[in-house]
Symmetry: C2
Subunit: 500 residues, 2 copies
C-alpha cells in the first residue's frame, strides 16, 4: 500500500468513524452473535497475496461490526466508560505515524518531554499536591502506565523494594526472602479485581478488609488489621485505597487511612481509576482529603476522560523510589545524561518499550480545554442525576446507595430475584447494557453514564426500555401467578467489579 | 469537536502522515534539541478554553517534530525496528474508533475472536508447532501482549505458579514461601535487559549464564548451572532462550537447551522478539530447531513485522497454565460460558483492560498477504547483506560476527577507541543513527536495516556518511599524529542491548 492508497483508505476510515459516531444509535448496544461466530466466518489462514483495502472494509462491516459491543453507544451503561474522542483518535494517529519507541530521552526527546508536560498539566487540573508534579522542586512526577492494574502492581513492587531495603538496612543479618515472605498489603473487599491480582502477581499477601455498610474501608478496620499482623511478626507494606469503587463508586476516607499509613511507614497507593477525573471540578475535591499521605495516585484518563485506552495517569511523590526498584542498568546509551526531571521513563514502568501516548492526552486537553473537560464530567453527573429522578418517580424501584458520580444503583422493591430477572430480560433485548452489583447484600443494577455521546433523550430511551421490561415482568407475574424464588445470596465482593 | 471537524482534522492528519512517509528523507534522523527544550517551549498549564485543531497542528510541526527521533527514517539503523505501516495505522484507527475494552468475550465478541483468528494465522505463517495454536485439538493458543518484557514476565510468573503447585502437591508439608525463595531462572548474559528485569519484578533469581564466543547459551553451560543449583537445594524453574539476541542477533541452540528443560520439567520460554519474524521464510526455520520443547514463544509483531507498537505475539502450549495462575475469579459476568477455545483474555495477561489490537494485525496480514510479509523480511536481509558487502570492500573495516538477519556489526581494524570515536562523530552529525554493541570483547557498531522504507540508495547514503566520517578521522589522525588511546575494556553484556 503506497502513500496515495493510504490517503484513500485513510479518508474512507475517517468518514466511517465520523459516521459511526453520528449514527451509533442505529446499532443495538449488544451484538447478536454466538461464541465462535467469527472463527467460523473468517478463513483459517492468512491470505497469500495482498488484498485490496476495499475488501477489508467490506469484511470489517460484514463480519467484525456484527460482533462488536458498542462501548461508545449512549445505551452502554455497563462497567465504567471506555474513554474515547475524536481528539484522542487523532492523537493516536500522530503517534502511530511517527512510530517512535520512547524508552529513553534520546530515543525521542519529544516523546519523553511531552509526557512530562501533559502529566503536569493534568496533575494541576486535578489539584494534586504539588509534590506529585515534575514541575515541583522535589523528585515527584507523573508517568503514563498502560492500565490501573499495572499502576497498582508498580506501586506494590516499589513498596516491596523500599520496605525490604529499610528492613535490611536496619538489620543487615536478616534474610531478604524471609522479609519478603512477611510482607502484607491491604485493601478493601470492594476493590477492583486488579488489586487482588496485583498481590497475586507481585507475590504479596493482599488482605481484602471488610468495608463498612457504605462500601468504604475505615481507618479503624485498617488499624486493627495492621496491629494484628504486626503482633504475628508480619510486615505491613502497602495499602491500596479506592476512590470510587467499581461496584458502587464508594470512596475510602483517605483522611482516616492516610495518617495510619504515614505513621506506620506504609506505601499508600490511591486507586481513583474512574472517579479521579471528577477532581477536575473543585466541588468534588473534598473526596480526596488526606491525599497528602499517599505515595502514588492513579486515575485512568482512558476511563472517564475522553482519552482512548491506554492512558493510566500515575503520579508518585518520589521518582527515585521507582527507578531504584526498576532500573536494570546498562551503559549502552550514555550519550545523554538525564535526571529525574527529564526521566528515562523505561525505569518508571515494567516494560522497556513505550509508545508516544502523551500525544493523545495533549490533543484531548487542547481540543477540550480545561473548561470542556469539566463540562464533560458535570454533564455526565447531571445525566445520572436525571436518571435517578426518573427511577425515584417509579414506586416499584428503590435507589441505593445514594448515587455518586455518574453511577446510579437501583433495584426492584420486590427483591433480588426479580431484579436479576429484569436485568436478564433487558440484556436479552440488547438495547440497553447494564451490569449488576451489590449493596448491603442486596442485588442492584448499576446504571452508568458512559458514552460521551449520551444526551438527555438517550437516558429517556434507556429508561423507557427498563420500564417496558419491568411492565412485562409484572404483567407476566400477574397472569402466571408466578412466585418469586427465594433470595439467592451473593457476597458483596463477588459481584462488585469488573471494568478497570 | 464535532464529526465534521473530525473529518477535516482527520483528513489533514492522513495527508500529513502520507507526506511524512514520502518526505522522511528530508529530516535528519536525530533531532537537534537539548534536554528540556519542550518543557521550555510549551505552556506550564493546559489551556482553559478549547483550541482550534489548526493551532494544534501548528504546534505539532513547530514544537513536537523538531524533537522527534525518526524511527521510520531509512537512516535509522539503531536498536531494532519499530514496526509500522499504513495498514497498521488504519487498523489502529478502527480500534480507536470502536474503543471497546475486550476483557471478556461478552465485552466485545469480535475483539476476542479476531485475536484468536489472527494469532492462528500468524502462528501458521511462522510454522510454529501445532500445539501452540488455538485451532489445534489441545489447550494451546496465542495472545497479544503489550511487550516482550510482559511476555517474559508472564512466562516467569506462570512457571513459578506451576512449579510451586507441583512441589506442594508432592510435599504438602512444604512452606510455599520457602519454595518460592528457592526458585531459579536462567538465561544468557546476552539477554535483553527486559529478561533480567522480569526476574527482578517477579522476585525470582535470574542467573545470566555465560554465552560462548558466538553469543550463544550452550546446553552444557545450562546443564552445569542446573546441576550445581540442584546440589545446593535450589529449584530450577524457568529458562529464557534468546532467538536473536539484541546485541549481535545470536541464536541460542534450542535443540541443546530444549531437551534439558524437558527432562528437568523446567518452563522454556523462547524470546524471539526481533528475529522470530524471519520464521515466515522456510530458509530460516532451522534456527528454531528444538522449539517443540518450549512452553511459550514470543515474537514482537511490532518489531520486524510492519505492525505498530504494541503487538507482542505470544503463544503457549497450555492455556490452562496461564489462566490457573492469573484468574482472579468473579462471578460478575456469568451470562456467557467461554472455554479455553474462546478465551477470556483477561486471564491470559497481567492487566484487566485490553484494546482491540488484533485489528491492526488483521489489516497488516491482509494488506501485505503472506507473500508481502516474506518479501519484506527477505528484502531487509538483502539490504543488510548489501551493506556488509560495502563494508568488506573497505580495508579499514572488519565485520564480526558474521551478519545474521538484518544486522551487520562492524568495527575499524585500528581498535575500539577509534571505532567508538567514529560512532560518536557520526551520531553528532545526526544524519545516520546506529548504536554500539560488543562481540568477543571488541567494541562494534551495530547497523540494522530498520525502516520499511529503506532502499538500496538509502544504504548507499548511510554508507557514504560512515565513509566520510572515517576519512575525516584518519585525515585528522595523520595531520595531528594523534595517538589512539589504550583500549577501554567493556564487558560484553554491558553494551549488548537496549531495544526491545
Amino acid at each position: 500500500m503506497d502513500a496515495n492508497q493510504f490517503r484513500e483508505f485513510g479518508r474512507a476510515v475517517i468518514d466511517m468513524l465520523a459516521s459511526y459516531a453520528e449514527n451509533i444509535r442505529d446499532y443495538d448496544v449488544l451484538p447478536s452473535v454466538e461464541p465462535g461466530y467469527l472463527l467460523r466466518a473468517l478463513p483459517e489462514s492468512a491470505p497469500e497475496q495482498p488484498e485490496d483495502w476495499k475488501d477489508i472494509m467490506k469484511d470489517f462491516n460484514q463480519s467484525i461490526m456484527p460482533g462488536v459491543t458498542h462501548w461508545q453507544s449512549p445505551q452502554f451503561h455497563a462497567f465504567y466508560p471506555s474513554g474515547s474522542s475524536f481528539a484522542s483518535i487523532i492523537g493516536n494517529m500522530l503517534s502511530d505515524g511517527l512510530a517512535v519507541v520512547g524508552f529513553s530521552w534520546m530515543a525521542s526527546p519529544a516523546c519523553t518531554e511531552l509526557e512530562v508536560v501533559t502529566m503536569n498539566w493534568l496533575g494541576k487540573l486535578l489539584d494534586l499536591p504539588e509534590e506529585f508534579l515534575n514541575c515541583s522542586s522535589g523528585p515527584g512526577g507523573g508517568v503514563i502506565q498502560g492500565s490501573a492494574s499495572e499502576a497498582t502492581l508498580v506501586g506494590l513492587l516499589v513498596a516491596k523494594d523500599k520496605t525490604v531495603r529499610r528492613f535490611m538496612n536496619n538489620n543487615p543479618d536478616l534474610d531478604e526472602n524471609e522479609i519478603k515472605a512477611k510482607l502484607v498489603a491491604y485493601t478493601s473487599d470492594q476493590c477492583n479485581s486488579s488489586v487482588e491480582k496485583a498481590g497475586l502477581l507481585g507475590s504479596m499477601k493482599m488482605k481484602l478488609l471488610k468495608a463498612d455498610a457504605d462500601g468504604c474501608l475505615r481507618g479503624e478496620t485498617l488499624k486493627r488489621a495492621i496491629e494484628e499482623d504486626k503482633s504475628q511478626g508480619l510486615i505491613p507494606c502497602y495499602v491500596v485505597a479506592n476512590l470510587g469503587t467499581t461496584g458502587t463508586c464508594a470512596f475510602d476516607p483517605l483522611h482516616e487511612l492516610g495518617p495510619i499509613c504515614s505513621e506506620e511507614d506504609i506505601w499508600l497507593h490511591v486507586d481513583a481509576a474512574y472517579a479521579g477525573a471528577a477532581f477536575l471540578c473543585p466541588e468534588y475535591r473534598h473526596l480526596m482529603k488526606g491525599i497528602e499521605h499517599s505515595q502514588s495516585f492513579v486515575t485512568n484518563a482512558h476511563k472517564w476522560l475522553p482519552v482512548n485506552f491506554d492512558c493510566s495517569a500515575m503520579w508518585v511523590k518520589n521518582g527515585y523510589d521507582i527507578t531504584r526498584a526498576f532500573d536494570v542498568q546498562r551503559i549502552y546509551l550514555d550519550d545523554v545524561k538525564t535526571t529525574i526531571k527529564i526521566p528515562d521513563y523505561r525505569h518508571w514502568q515494567m516494560p522497556l518499550g513505550r509508545r508516544f501516548r502523551a500525544l493523545k492526552l495533549w490533543t484531548v486537553m487542547r481540543i477540550y480545554g480545561a473548561e470542556g473537560l469539566k463540562t464533560h464530567i458535570r454533564q455526565q453527573i447531571e445525566l445520572a442525576q436525571y436518571f435517578a429522578k426518573l427511577v425515584r418517580a417509579d414506586e416499584r424501584f428503590v435507589i441505593g446507595p445514594e448515587p455518586t458520580m455518574a453511577l446510579v444503583c437501583f433495584r426492584l422493591k420486590d427483591g433480588d430475584t426479580i431484579t436479576r430477572q429484569l436485568l436478564e430480560n433487558i440484556t436479552q433485548k440488547k438495547k440497553v447494557f447494564m451490569v449488576a452489583g451489590t449493596h448491603r447484600d442486596r442485588y442492584v443494577i448499576r446504571f452508568v453514564i458512559c458514552s460521551r455521546l449520551t444526551k438527555k433523550e438517550d437516558v429517556d430511551y434507556s429508561w423507557s426500555q427498563i420500564k417496558k421490561e419491568t411492565d412485562l415482568i409484572y404483567s407476566d407475574k400477574i397472569h402466571n401467578k408466578a412466585q418469586i424464588p427465594a433470595l439467592e445470596q451473593f457476597t458483596s465482593r463477588e459481584l462488585c467489579e469488573k471494568s478497570k
